[in-house]
């Protein structure tokens, strides 16, 4: 606003205008702080999925989207954005560095991401993320190839060598296989693959003896067809779809459950203001508990495991501590 240098004082009119403008600006800039009205009406929420489309994490996220839209105030548009690359770093980084305004969230992988953090390749700190909750818990199953000649834990322990098909080590599956092998006293020979499908196919062929993957990945080969033989599940109780398969607890290895178990938690950037966080906590809890969502997931043979934000944060913390115990082993395999 230019002031006439010849004018010696401001008129009343201009004072009123300036005052009003100041008030408006103050209101505008402090709007997010006003707790009562966190509303996403007309906004777009970005749900970052740090892996390529088509896998378990992507599918779980996409299935949840309509229910997030339903339970968030203002019913915003929630879009899934796949940001694969750098072993989850790029996608998580994108969320981590986004503005903490409640409009960006991401799905994460526990304890897979914890492995990255422990060995130092992560570009984020899991403990700083604002955890919103959890979508599902993935139960791992160990299955043996029909051509391996192995049928039980004893067989594996007695064998000279058990060939296992793993993916990466900074992943729950890879880590889980190595750790299970060590713990159970099995002489493991891990053969790396580009993806779990590849490894499973290798087991069906008989080139690989052992695969250890989420139940959803193996279901086709152990239930729909009998290409592979399930030997145990990493769960506290037997799965209803596999009533004859023992749990690791029954076999005496309940401690493995802490590490061979995958969760799909969802988080928002660090420093999310309380007001927005509270709104998200409630919406996320309602979405994951929505009976329609749960039914859809169950029909797709996927598990739903809602968790409160505090529980999720504790889970993450525990996960990091567990993985740290195996840091030496991991680094040895990466050599």
């Amino acid at each position: 606003m230019k002031t006439n240098p010849n004018c010696r004082k401001l008129t009343l009119g201009s004072k009123i205008v300036m005052g009003t403008l100041t008030l408006l600006m103050a209101a505008f800039f402090s709007a997010p702080v006003i707790a009562a009205d966190v509303n996403f009406k007309g906004q777009t929420i970005t749900f970052v999925v740090p892996v390529t489309p088509g896998g378990g994490f992507d599918t779980a996220s996409r299935m949840l989207v309509p229910y997030l839209e339903k339970h968030l105030p203002g019913h915003p548009n929630v879009i899934v954005k796949n940001v694969p690359g750098g072993e989850w770093n790029i996608g998580i980084g994108k969320m981590y560095r986004a503005k903490p305004d409640g409009k960006t969230i991401a799905i994460l992988n526990m304890p897979g991401n914890a492995v990255s953090q422990v060995i130092g390749t992560a570009k984020f700190d899991l403990r700083k993320i604002t955890w919103l909750g959890n979508i599902s818990q993935v139960t791992y199953v160990t299955a043996l190839s029909l051509k391996s000649g192995l049928h039980s834990l004893e067989d594996c322990q007695k064998a000279d060598e058990v060939v296992s098909g793993v993916v990466g080590l900074a992943s729950t599956a890879g880590l889980g296989t190595i750790i299970a092998g060590e713990r159970m006293g099995i002489k493991m020979k891990p053969i790396p693959h580009g993806g779990s499908s590849e490894a499973i196919l290798g087991a069906i062929r008989g080139d690989i003896d052992w695969v250890q993957y989420p139940f959803t990945s193996l279901k086709k080969s152990i239930i729909d067809s009998s290409d592979l033989m399930p030997v145990w599940v990493f769960a506290k109780e037997r799965l209803e779809q596999l009533p004859n398969v023992p749990t690791v607890a029954e076999l005496g290895y309940a401690d493995l459950l802490d590490i061979v178990s995958m969760y799909r938690p969802v988080g928002a950037p660090p420093g999310l203001p309380d007001a927005i966080a509270k709104v998200w906590y409630e919406a996320f809890w309602n979405a994951t508990n929505d009976p329609e969502f749960q039914k859809k997931m169950r029909d797709a043979d996927r598990n739903v495991y809602p968790m409160r934000p505090k529980e999720t944060a504790e889970l993450v913390d525990r996960g990091i501590i567990e993985v740290e115990k195996y840091k030496g082993l991991i680094l040895k395999y990466l050599k």
Binding site: T46, I79, K81, K335
Partner: protein
């Protein structure tokens, strides 16, 4: 480029030679850095790096000292698909002579002409680099619009009107395509 029968072979420094040096450095890097990785991981890159270094070295010698072409004939020998008869007239001059195994990339062109062409390429590279920077800081349509206008006018020599019309059309087309139809998140 005359071939005098000197005692000292005449050294040719052409743009082909420069490129050979670039390749050589690349392969050396490949081989040298391979030692940082574990045994299995280093095997293939190191082998490739060494093989590449050796092969490019020969190429470099042949390109720098043309008289040696005859002695090192295997370097310029044509591949399985080389013409048994005359080359077809539809191929561009450069590709023809270069791919037929002749040394250097400037066969038939003067040195100044070659440098002029590289300068033109360099200018385009700079324009594209500027585009990338703009893409990072402003809305993509601004970057696209500016690029089209300026490059069409300055590099391609078209009139201002044509350049601006082209830029506007491209912007409209891209907007319809990317924002409306594809709903891309830009």
């Amino acid at each position: 480029m005359t071939h005098k029968r000197n005692r000292f072979p005449r050294v040719i420094i052409s743009d082909a030679v420069v490129f050979d040096w670039v390749l050589l450095i690349g392969f050396v890097v490949l081989a040298v850095f391979a030692v940082n990785y574990n045994a299995r991981a280093r095997s293939i890159p190191m082998a490739l790096g060494i093989l590449g270094t050796v092969m490019v070295s020969f190429q470099l010698i042949v390109d720098m000292f043309p008289p040696l072409r005859r002695k090192l004939g295997f370097v310029v020998e044509s591949g399985l698909m080389a013409d048994q008869k005359e080359e077809s007239p539809t191929e561009t001059d450069n590709v023809n002579s270069a791919e037929a195994g002749n040394y250097g990339g400037n066969h038939g062109k003067g040195r100044t002409e070659a440098i002029q062409e590289w300068v033109k390429i360099l200018r385009l590279i700079i324009w594209i680099a500027a585009f990338i920077v703009l893409l990072g800081v402003t809305h993509y349509l601004i970057a696209v619009g500016l690029f089209v206008v300026l490059v069409t006018r300055i590099e391609a020599g078209e009139s201002w009107i044509r350049s601006i019309v082209l830029a506007v059309s491209v912007n409209i087309g891209f907007f319809i395509l990317f924002n409306l139809i594809l709903n891309a998140q830009l």
